[in-house]
Assembly symmetry: C2
Homo-oligomer: 344 residues x 2
DNA sequence: AAGCGCGCGTAGAACGGTTTACGTAGAACG
DNA sequence: CGTTCTACGTAAACCGTTCTACGCGCGCTT
């Protein structure tokens, strides 16, 4: 048997060590900038790494140490609000070794769990969950396995994981106050459809609480109307149509997210209603299309970028060892546009 | 030193083997449904797996074999067209072992390369690149390292990787024909900004070719106008405004993607133009918001779901060993709405 | 009956990092 | 000058899979 010519080998940590004339462990220390390497050694090693174009093998790292991968779990990709959050996360990870990878759960608790498992199986160092559909005990269970930060899930009863939120009650209050000041009296709230594990931890529930309180405060308790609808175009439009064709239709609809507000706007237009003359519409998240002239949608800005940035920061702290839970809250801000302002 | 009580150990392939009373390799074979296991043995092993709740350790798998992870590289998250593609990919992977994970490059070639590296480092089995900004030689280089399928990048000169596209020339032709039939004569094309590596492989260039040919065909060569603009709201709006404030403004604008068409629509509305009376607008991708009454945007449907589905199928074939490149093409379809139809 | 191929299963060597346990040299100290 | 630290490096074990090479027994051919 003739010897097979040595084909181009992978550059491993061993190759680097040899080239730099040091031990394998020394190179590893440099990579993880761990304690116990002199500047001289660090320099030699880094030179070799650059020269050889060495890249650490993530799977091998995952066997013992970290993978420097963070999971980002989103409910869906149609709502551009999540893009804002990602932007914030990217900003936070800019100069770090961490790489974010996304999973999309399609707003289904089952898929969400499967994705969490998949991410844990891949030894990700931590996960950011956005708008999770999981009940709190499931989240606790996950948190005991792998560091997580949960965005848009209110910490009720001192959970064992970090959370990042905007003040949803305040957001809803701002909406009601804004509408009432503009003369609208029958303000309805169009919320998300109820899931299996409905609870006060959900942002839509928090918004509902704020909405109810503010309506009460304004002396409009009798006009409180809450409708729950699914995420699809059809469901949202049907709900809107039903509300607007009722005997006493609302003169303003507060939608739990912009996405839905645009569907309501579409229905209103189809029905020949004037916005905001016959109907005012408000969204939530202040996503990019709110600003388009054909929408001109008043919305609540909860700054997705900040949420993402803080979530990433908290997650890395967790990974580095923090065990005490932290909860970050952003103050929302109302951005008024034509959909609630007759004059402009 | 007192012995530390044995804490709950991870369930490994060894645990399963022991429980089922077989060898480790036998379990591995069952997991990968490889050749050489009897039904009896397979049953025993699967029972143990279920009983113990065993989950294979992806990092360990990555050391030797596959990770059953596919990378999905998207340019950005604001354009909901990519959500459609993901839907298709998910459909294709439904009953497979493969798990898709997303990376977002922010439409920057540098970030894109970094993400590809990151995915390769993590031993992903293959990558689907959507709307890549990389020049063809870079793609070839990547393809030699890891199986890839490229969506929205036309195969020119027999590249060594698979591609999935719609017929962009035809799409543009359909647009021009539709507009001309409706009586519009000065049809402009609002395309993507030119990058460093501009070429015929780009979908926007293909659309431009189709547009020019169709205009020529219609005897409107003298009215050909092509404008390139960036992705941000401001850039798109500025470009639109400039076009519309010119001495001889177009009476129809064909935008390379819906996203941009909505910005143009916004500008038109701001300028008090009637759509489609003064200006017809057409987009591309037929994303969900085209159907909203306030937009009612005529668009080209290239079926993101099909693109995603086929890409995933091709990628898995590649991973399983195919070496001959394949190129899948979808026939686009025009969906007419009010933005080009005065009557409706 | 020896030989052969086939179907099923096994033992053990990789894979490429991280981490532990342990040298070793030089400085500081009494 | 011997001892004790401290700072830096090293060798080797280890992580959980996959994969290669091989063993065994059975039935079929010659």
């Amino acid at each position: 048997m003739v010897a097979i010519p040595t084909q181009k080998q992978r550059v491993t940590i061993r190759t680097v060590a040899e080239d730099a004339g040091v031990s394998v462990a020394a190179v590893s220390k440099v990579l993880r900038d761990a304690y116990g390497v002199s500047d001289a050694l660090r320099g030699r090693v880094q030179a070799s790494i650059a020269k050889l174009g060495y890249r650490p093998h993530a799977a091998a790292r995952g066997m013992r140490g970290q993978t420097y991968t963070l999971g980002l779990l989103m409910p869906d990709l149609h709502n551009p609000f999540f893009a804002d959050i990602l932007e914030g996360v990217n900003t936070a990870l800019q100069r770090s070794q961490y790489q974010p990878l996304l999973g999309v759960s399609d707003s289904a608790a089952g898929t969400e769990l499967a994705l969490i498992d998949a991410m844990a199986d891949r030894q990700m160092d931590g996960i950011i969950l956005i708008g999770s559909r999981l009940p709190i005990n499931e989240l606790e269970r996950v948190a005991s396995r792998i560091p997580i930060v949960v965005i848009a899930h209110h910490p009720i009863g001192e959970p064992d994981f970090d959370t990042v939120n905007n003040d949803d009650r305040l957001g809803a209050t701002l909406v009601v106050q804004h509408l009432v000041a503009a003369g609208f009296k029958h303000v309805a709230y169009l919320s998300q459809e109820l899931g299996a594990h409905n609870s006060d931890t959900m942002v839509t529930t928090q918004r509902e609480i704020g909405y109810r309180a503010a309506m009460h405060e304004a002396g409009l308790s009798r006009n409180i109307q809450v409708v729950h609808a699914g995420q699809t175009s059809r469901e949202a439009q049907n709900a809107a149509r039903q509300m607007l064709e009722a005997r006493h239709p609302p003169d303003a609809i507060f939608c739990w997210t912009d996405f839905i507000a645009l569907e309501v706007l579409s229905v209103a237009r189809d029905m020949g209603l004037d916005v905001p003359g016959d109907l005012a519409i408000v969204g939530y998240d202040n996503t990019w299309y709110c600003d388009l002239a054909q929408n001109a949608l008043t919305s609540i800005d909860q700054s997705g970028q900040v949420l993402g940035l803080q979530a990433a920061r908290l997650l890395i702290e967790r990974i580095k060892g923090r065990t005490q839970a932290e909860h970050y809250v952003v103050t929302p801000r109302l951005v008024a546009r034509r959909s609630t302002q007759p004059g402009s």
